[in-house]
Amino acid sequence: MKVSLKIAAAVLSGMPLFAHDMWIRPTTFSPETGEIVGVRLLVGQNFLGDPIPRDSGLIRQFFVQDAAERKPLVGRDGSNPAGYLRVATPGLLVIGYHSNPSPMDLPAEKFNQYLKDEGLDGIAALRARRNETAAGVHELFSRCAKSLVLSGSPDKAQGDRALGFPLELVAERNPYANRAGEDLPIRLTYENRSLAGALVIAMNRQNPSEKMTARTGKDGRVHFRLGREGMWLIKSVHMVPAPAGTNAEWASYWASLTFELK
């Protein structure tokens, strides 16, 4: 596993038409017990995004998991924030959003660039071997977004939980209990198994163009030292051949994990 620091090019110089991240931004990452928290879904890049109103046709799972139970986030179609939760007890809450797959058609040039940006080198190599580099694609993409919200004091014993999403980032230590600069191990799983060799990107909202990138090891882990305070977004994309009968060549899964360090 190798950790590197990459300075992105101009943030807004070319908002592309593809490869947008989705992340969860709650109205607060540190609610009081009993507080109602709005959960916004944002689509964009480099922490600049657009809110996506609730769309029941897109939602496969949208819930909050605390130490005791899993509860669906309430909301009505078209509302923004897309969901609301009430903090019942103090502790770490894990918010999860898993979307149904959506189709997307991309010309070859844009698809190749997207593979490069998201570190999907294996797919690019496979396409090259099959002489498909010049071909446009039909793709299905699914969102697997998570957010960690802390009510009350941090507790090292409380941590992130695996929610069972197809592609999932799991913080193996409670980031709220981590000290600044302390190592945060994150495990990436695909269908509940460790995913090796995948690009994972971490960025801070205060300076999203300054990205930390790492490839997962054999155990599916990356380690980031998140020195900066503020909201963090960890993200990764995985792509597999689309299931037969879907009229698509590729299926992509977009995992994200957000939390806010103080």
């Binding site: 943030v11 807004l12 908002m15 592309p16 038409l17 593809f18 947008h20 989705m22 879904l41 944002l42 689509v43 964009g44 890049q45 922490f47 600049l48 995004g49 657009d50 809110p51 996506i52 109103p53 769309d55 046709g57 897109l58 496969r60 923004n80 149904n100 797959p101 959506s102 189709p103 997307m104 058609d105 991309l106 010309p107 299905l140 299931p243 879907t246 299926a251």
Partner: protein, 340 residues
Amino acid sequence: MMRMFRTPAIVLFCGVVAYAHEIGTTRVSAVLHEDRTYGIEIVTDAVTLAEKLDGSPGGDFAGKFLQRVKIAFDGQSVRPAVGYSEAAGAVATIRLTGQIPPDAREFTWAYGWTFASYAMTVRGSASAPAVTQWLEGNQSSAPFAVTAPAPPADRVRTAWRYLLLGFTHIMPNGLDHMLFVLGIYLLSYRVRSLLWQVSAFTVAHSITLGLSMYGVVTLRPSIVEPLIALSIAYVAIENVFLAELKPWRIALVFSFGLLHGLGFAGALKDLALPRSEFVTALLTFNLGVEAGQLAVIAAAFLLVGWHFSDRSWYRGRIVVPVSALIACTAVYWTVQRLSS
């Protein structure tokens, strides 16, 4: 493994590559007005727009915002005036306005301040049906046709057309107005009597026709039409009992003329006056009505007045029976119009 796939409402347009993303909160609507101006309204989330603008170089709001907006007519970009307002709930509305270049045929649009899909609706005028395209951020729309301005109306043709419409509204289509004029004619064969009555009627109906067309006076047809019928009955009945012009008759004809003017206005409104030639159409329609009335009088004069008005039996055999017949018809119309 995968459940049923949802297909977002993304419309594919020929020549435009479509990408299906999540649908955001941004909405764009454009109106290409007939007076060759355009207005574009962008409704979007104020907070996320401000975040994007903060990270963007440039001067004031308009300068920054327009960096990622492209309005083009026939491929040529134009720079609009920019207005901004914010409503409760942090919803921003940005209004872009400007002139459509002369002879422009196509309008295209691109908006780079969103990452999500959004609907772009375009109307040819504020009341015209909307055409909608679903677009992604930065994606250029397919061209929208700019409606060619209506050719300027030919004033002479408009005048002639409305003159004829006014005439035919009396003869042959306006039997009630014809009977009213006939009632006026039958009172007395003296030219002075006829002139006073026709003048009063003409001035009166011109007044209410004009006022009603400008929206100053309005009265429902369900009230106007029975009253018109009643006015015909009154004039005809009075002819049976009166052989001379009396001052109150002129006053009554004037007030009846006011009613008939409202009736003419109802007919004229149904014809949808051209906005650019409103005055011409109004004046020539009124002239046509006058011509129609004079034609009724001329026909009556030629048929009976010229030969028989100086005969001793003229009143007994022509004026009274014809007036009675007109009165009966008008009473019937009054009842009919009231009941319908």
